[in-house]
């Protein structure tokens, strides 16, 4: 059947007025064969491999975007968890490797490279500990390297020794980057149930079950969903879900198509399509505004969780049919600093940290890009991570924490991160401490949900 002009108009409207774009094409690269007993050789191998495989990523992505008229905003690389390469390294060498990755990212002109990561949800190996010890320095001395640490899974429980360390690491990173609003913490994600094929930063890494090289895609489109809903102001919630579903279907089809073309031209297998609705600070490109369009006066008020659950589920239903391989995080993101509606919610006092935590029960992913009082103790940060990891562990879903304790700023102030990372009002934390709980250490055992065999 030929395409109708109304359909062509719809696509053009989505791109030009409603911010439809492919948010990211992310190339996953295995670095396991780069290991060498000589660390300099290892570094050279890593640099060479990343810059060879990803050499044409940016040019090809831009060419495809141009031909099909759908912008591809970010081109990125995810690598094997770096801790796997650090078994015999020193902390200094681990920092050097981060710099090598930074150089490689600059060489191939990508804005972020993810995978400075360790999976420590059950225990911490030598290489993992080296990476953890190197994190604050690595994050403060590089620009484009993103790190993620897995501290828990449904299958293993939560490694509270790692959680304790992460509070300290986030605090140290904030201190080392205090001249720049503690921005180092924006490149660090703490996960429970991380996925191996997530294309979105800062939490992307190329998991152990992945192949040599793969191309995965993350679409976007809160703006498109918002505009679609605006056309049905009086629809009941069943119809609202239907509108979101249909819109998500179209967005996903566009994304998958573009992703497949990029993968084919790079001669790399297509990995997965991540169905996440990822907001930006552009006007009307906000997940919070979708919730408000559904009927909330301000995001964060009563009804927020229900509206978010409806939206998140409808996006998945529409997207799942549109893509042959759904993966990654695939749910709505609710970052604070990157979503104008969320920022407004906090400024108006409607959206609070406890409400944000509750929202993470029904959507991907977790507490994301939240600026908190710089005076929060490392134990408090650890406790926030533990809460979030528990939500993920019990609900068999991914949760993550990317919080920025901004040194020198307190609740009520606003911090500007600039660029894609946006700005955020500082949120205060609970004044009561959780020190004893964190100091106990050990592992929270795997929950009964893990016993599925």
């Amino acid at each position: 059947m030929p395409i109708a002009y109304t359909e062509i108009q719809e696509t053009i409207r989505m791109v030009q007025m409603e911010h439809l774009d492919v948010r990211t094409v992310t190339m996953g690269i295995s670095l396991r064969d780069c290991i060498d007993s000589d660390f300099d050789t290892l570094k050279t191998n890593v640099f060479h491999k990343v810059t060879t495989y990803a050499k044409n990523l940016v040019t090809v992505a831009e060419q495809v975007a141009e031909e099909y008229g759908v912008p591809i905003i970010n081109k990125r690389v995810a690598i094997s968890p770096v801790a796997e390469l650090l078994g015999n390294a020193t902390v200094e060498q681990a920092v050097e490797l981060a710099k090598t990755l930074d150089e490689a990212a600059k060489k191939v002109q990508i804005d972020f490279i993810g995978g400075y990561s360790a999976l420590v949800h059950k225990g911490i190996s030598k290489g993992d500990q080296i990476l953890l010890d190197a994190l604050p320095q690595a994050l403060s001395e590089t620009e484009r390297v993103c790190a993620s640490i897995s501290v828990g899974t449904t299958r293993t429980g939560i490694n509270m020794d790692a959680v304790k360390q992460m509070g300290e690491i986030i605090k140290a990173t904030a201190e080392l980057t205090k001249d720049n609003n503690s921005i180092g913490c924006a490149k660090l994600v703490v996960f429970c149930n991380p996925v191996e094929d997530n294309p979105f930063m800062a939490g992307a890494f190329h998991g152990a079950g992945e192949g040599e090289v793969v191309l995965s895609v993350g679409v976007s489109g809160p703006g498109v969903v918002l505009h679609a809903l605006k056309r049905y102001p009086d629809a009941d919630l069943g119809e609202v879900a239907e509108v979101i579903k249909k819109t998500a279907f179209k967005i996903t089809r566009a994304g998958e198509f573009i992703g497949r073309v990029v993968a084919e031209r790079l001669e790399v297998p297509f990995g997965i399509m991540d169905l996440s609705l990822a907001p930006t600070n552009a006007m009307n490109d906000s997940v919070a505004e979708i919730l408000e369009e559904i009927g909330l006066e301000c995001v964060g008020t009563h009804g927020t969780i229900a509206a978010l659950a409806l939206m998140n589920d409808a996006v998945k239903k529409g997207g799942a049919m549109a893509s042959s391989y759904v993966g990654g995080l695939s749910g709505a993101f609710i970052p604070v600093s990157e979503d104008n509606g969320m920022i407004r919610g906090i400024e108006q006092g409607a959206l609070t940290l406890p409400k944000l935590e509750a929202m993470t029960c029904v959507c991907s992913v977790g507490l994301d890009m939240i600026a908190i009082d710089g005076n929060a103790s490392s134990h408090t940060l650890s406790a926030i991570i533990a809460d979030e990891a528990a939500i993920g562990m019990i609900n068999k879903k991914t949760t993550a924490v990317r919080i920025i304790p901004v040194v020198g700023k307190e609740s009520g102030e606003v911090v500007e991160f600039g660029g894609l990372l946006g700005r955020a009002p500082i949120i205060g934390v609970n004044p009561y401490h959780s020190d004893k709980f964190i100091q106990r250490g050990g592992r929270i055992p795997a929950p009964i949900q893990a016993l599925t065999n």
Binding site: T11, Y68, V70, F257
Partner: protein, 88 residues
């Protein structure tokens, strides 16, 4: 290979003439064409045949002066994206 040229802008004399002149100068055949006026805005869509992918960039460049002169937004996209989005 086919592509869709879409032209959006304020309605005025000579839009079709100028846009199609660019196409004929570049030896591009138009296989379908439609135009409407939506709230004072002129929108035209054309389906064109292209033999060489490099022509897309060439055409984009050639359209630039027309876009400036008439205050139009002209975009060219390969047809498959519409198929992907609107057909199962």
């Amino acid at each position: 290979m086919r592509a869709v040229v879409s032209v959006i802008g304020k309605d005025q004399v000579g839009i079709i003439a100028k846009v199609t002149t660019v196409l004929s100068e570049n030896h591009v055949n138009i296989s379908d064409i439609s135009q409407t006026i939506l709230q004072d805005f002129f929108t035209m869509m054309m389906l064109i045949d292209i033999d060489d992918i490099k022509k897309l960039a060439q055409l984009k460049q050639a359209f630039e002066p027309v876009e400036k002169e008439l205050g139009l937004k002209i975009s060219i996209q390969r047809e498959e994206i519409f198929q992907a989005m609107h057909r199962v």
